[in-house]
Symmetry: C2
Subunit: 152 residues, 2 copies
């Protein structure tokens, strides 16, 4: 059942599933979008402070975004996102790691741009196999209102 702005509950938390980091995909992503030696050059990465290849932060964020979309946004009358705040890569992510993604709705408010929509913020956290926070970020989402002109 599609959920609208009125149905979004501040404080809601949800588990959005787990995702394993595939080595081939991780490196291919970095070769295309983030060709830093630590992401694409095995030898340079081994000699770096990381001691081996680590995932591009954009790859990690994209993997996590998928869980946010499939585990939360796609049930909403979502109009997508306006942006992201405070992306932090807390721990290196490596091939074979499994990330567990969870979200919490931080707040929401009717849009002052458009009476038919509302804005919400959602905190997204990905935890690695050791239970450490690997990535955190805050998404700025837009969702349709069920009653565009009604008071909430």
């Amino acid at each position: 059942m599609t959920r609208y702005f009125e149905d979004v509950e501040v404080g809601t938390t949800r588990e959005c599933g787990r995702v394993e980091v595939d080595r081939e995909e991780m490196v291919a992503f970095a070769e295309r979008y983030d060709p830093q030696p630590i992401h694409v050059d095995e030898e340079a990465a081994r000699d770096s402070v990381y001691g081996g290849l680590i995932a591009s932060g954009w790859y990690t964020a994209s993997l996590v975004a998928r869980q946010l979309v499939t585990g939360f946004m796609n049930d909403l009358a979502s109009l997508g996102g306006r942006g992201m705040d405070d992306i932090r890569w807390h721990q290196p992510v490596r091939a074979g790691d499994t990330l567990t993604v969870s979200i919490e709705v931080l707040d929401k408010e009717p849009s002052d741009r458009n009476p038919a929509v509302g804005d919400y913020r959602v905190e997204v956290v990905a935890t690695n196999d050791e239970g450490e926070m690997a990535l955190s970020m805050v998404g700025l989402g837009v969702v349709e209102r069920r009653e565009p002109n009604g008071a909430e």
Copy 2:
């Protein structure tokens, strides 16, 4: 020539090149990482407020990140990024669009985590064919110091 923390000049601006949005890549990216209907479902996108498929914001950010890496970071003794602030998708990006990427170094400071490195912030802007800002974001980078224990 590799540039170190001491060489990073606050206020520096740089053009980091142009990148065209390829339809096939744009949709493939969204199918894998951001399967919202507006990014992957031609018909649903046509019926949406966007009137057609638009790029995943993560795809746009990743394309722009590549220009940041190849046009700025790879000349630095870079240790990668700690995160990103204030990502905003200002205008929809569509297949065939060309994005022009430019950066400005906002500030820098020696790290209080590690005397061998310094932090800098860089604003990244991507402009579309109409000269409108399509994406903006602020990168938090880490770079080696040439003289780890020296005063700057």
